[in-house]
Symmetry: C2
C-alpha cells in the first residue's frame, strides 16, 4: 500500500503524519510551533519525517507524496502561500522550499480543502461526489468536493463560508469586513460576544459557569450554562444556529450537494449545537435540495486535514 | 464545421436553432407554445428541424447533436424532466421521447445551465474556467461553470440562486417558501410589489408612468419613474440591488469565480439596475474574491440558452 506524508500547520501546532492510501494514520507527531520562519518550519518537518520513518519502520522509498495543509490562500498550481495568517506568511513559496529540503514534490493546500478531501476519501463522505464540509472552530470555513474533485476556485479562495455576510455592515470580523458569519459564530468571536454580554450584565450564568472569571468566559462556559438551562445561553445558541443555518442552508440551495459534513471543535465542545444547526439549515435550504441531503458528523475530526493533505499528494 | 440543433422551451415561446460549433446561429425559429403535451412539443421540434434544414440548406447528416434547455429540475444522466414548471411537466422522459422522434441522441438540460455554457463557449466568458452566470428576468437563476465544466449539482439543482433566502420567513415566493431572492427581485414579484405599493399610495409616480393603469404597473413603469428621478422608484431599485448584491456577493465569497456574467430582461429593461447591482455585489463579496473578479454583461442575451443547449449536445 502506498504511503504519503501529511502535514498540518495549524494555529498552534505543527502536526506531521505518515498516512496509508486508505487514510489510516500509521504514525504521527504533534508539537507547538516554535519559530514560524518558513525555513525553520521546513527543517522541522524534515526532522519529523525521519522520526516517523523510525517509528513505523519505513523509509522515503515507501513515500509517494508529501502534502501540507494550512489556513490561508494558496496558489494551487505552484503551492505558493499567498496569505497564511496563522503563520504570518505572505507570498511564501513553501512547496518549493520544502521540496528543496526533502527532495520530493510537495503539494500545499488550504487546510479546509485538505479536510474536505480527507472526509471524501477516508471519512464519512467516501463515494459521495458532491460534498460540502464545514468546520466550526476558532474560525469558520468550508471545503467543496464537486463532481468528485476538490474545487479550489479561481484564486484558491473557494469555500470561505466564514466570510459570507449574514448581517452586512454590522459586527467587525477579523478579516476587516463587517457582518461575516465568523464574526458571530467563530470561537474567538463567540468568546468576545459572551464577554460583552457579561459586561452588559446579560450573561451572569455564563460568567458563573466560567468560575466567575471573565477571562474564562467562552464556548465552554456557554456550553455549561446551556446544560444548566440558562435562558441567555440557550438563546445565544439558537442565534448561532440561525446564522449558521442561513449561510450553510443558502450554500446548499446554490450548490445542491448530496452530503453536508459538520466538524470542528465548537460542535464537540457544545453538544446542543449540532441538532440546532441541522434544523436551521433544513429550514433555510431549498426544499428540493434539502430532500436528498444527508448531514453527517466529521468522521476524521482533528485528523481530517492531516489525512486529506497526505491523500491529496498521492499521484 | 460541426452543427447542432438547440431548443429553448421557454415560458411563452418554443425556439429551435441550427447552431455551428463556434456558437454562430445559422437559422432559428420562434413560436408561441401551443399544446404543451410532451408528444406535441416533440413533434413540433421535429417539424421545425425540417424547416431549419430547408432554410440553411443542411440535412440531419450535418448535425452532431441535439440539445434542449428548459426551466426546471432535470436528471442530467437520463434527460428526464423531474419538474418543468413552465410546461406543467413532471417526470417526463423528454430526452427519450425526442430521441425516438428524431432518431438522434438528445441532451436535456436546465435552461440557465445551458445559458451559462453558451456564455462560456461562445459568449463573454470564453476561455474562463470559473464563471457564475446570473439571469434576472421574470424569475432569477444561475448557472455554474466550475473548473471548465458545467456543474449541475447532485440532483440537477445547482445554481438556484433565486431561492437563496435573503429575508428568511418573510415574503412568499412562487416556490412555496418564504424570503427567497426571487420573491423580491424576480420580474413577476417586482410587478406585484409595485402594485401593492400603488394600493398603499406609495408609488404614484410609478402608476403615472404606467399611464394610470394599475395593470400596466411593472418593471417598465419602474424604469420610467426612476428615469424621471422619482424617489420611490430610485429607493426601490436600491433595495433590489441590495438583495441581489447580498445573494450574488455571498455566492462569490463561497465559489471564488473569475467572472460573473449578468443577463436577463430586467437588466435590459431597467438601465440603472446593473451599475447599482455591481456596486452592491462588490460591497458584499469578500475583498480578496472581489479583487480578481470581472463582471460582464451577457454577450448572447436571449440566445444564450439556445446556443448553450446546442453546444452542450456536441460530443
Amino acid at each position: 500500500m502506498r504511503l504519503a506524508v501529511g502535514c498540518d500547520l495549524g494555529a498552534t501546532n505543527l502536526r506531521v503524519a505518515l498516512v496509508a492510501e486508505d487514510g489510516q494514520v500509521l504514525a504521527s507527531t504533534r508539537e507547538a510551533h516554535g519559530d514560524r520562519e518558513p525555513e525553520v518550519v521546513a527543517r522541522r518537518i524534515a526532522a519529523r519525517c525521519a522520526d516517523l520513518f523510525a517509528m513505523a519502520g519505513r523509509t522515503w522509498n515507501d513515500v509517494a507524496g508529501v502534502g501540507v495543509g494550512l489556513a490561508g490562500q494558496i496558489h494551487s498550481a505552484t503551492g505558493r502561500v499567498v496569505v497564511g495568517p496563522n503563520l504570518g506568511w505572505r507570498d511564501v513559496h513553501f512547496a518549493a522550499l520544502l521540496r528543496d529540503r526533502l527532495g520530493r514534490d510537495v503539494r500545499v493546500v488550504n487546510d479546509l480543502n485538505a479536510a474536505a478531501w480527507g472526509e471524501h476519501r477516508a471519512g464519512t463522505a467516501q463515494g459521495v461526489d458532491d460534498v460540502l464540509v464545514v468546520f466550526l472552530g476558532s474560525g469558520v470555513g468550508a471545503g467543496l468536493i464537486l463532481g468528485g474533485a476538490l474545487y479550489e476556485g479561481a484564486s484558491g479562495l473557494a469555500g470561505e463560508i466564514g466570510h459570507v455576510k449574514v448581517r452586512p455592515g454590522e459586527r467587525l470580523c477579523g478579516c476587516g469586513e463587517r457582518g461575516c458569519l465568523e464574526a458571530y459564530v467563530g470561537g474567538h468571536h463567540v468568546a468576545d460576544r459572551l464577554r460583552e454580554a457579561v459586561h452588559e450584565g446579560r450573561a451572569q450564568a455564563v460568567l458563573a459557569a466560567a468560575g466567575g472569571d471573565v477571562n474564562q468566559v467562552g464556548p465552554h462556559a456557554l456550553h455549561l450554562a446551556a446544560e444548566h438551562g440558562d435562558p441567555f445561553a440557550l438563546d445565544f445558541l439558537e442565534e448561532m444556529a440561525a446564522f449558521l443555518g442561513l449561510a450553510i442552508g443558502n450554500a446548499i440551495t446554490l450548490l445542491n450537494p448530496r452530503k453536508l459534513v459538520l466538524g470542528g471543535g465548537m460542535f464537540h465542545g457544545i453538544s446542543r449545537l449540532r441538532p440546532l444547526v441541522e434544523r436551521a439549515i433544513r429550514k433555510v435550504a431549498g426544499r428540493a435540495q434539502a430532500a436528498e441531503l444527508t448531514i453527517d458528523e466529521s468522521a476524521l475530526g482533528d485528523d481530517a486535514g492531516l489525512v486529506g493533505a497526505a491523500l491529496l499528494a498521492l499521484p
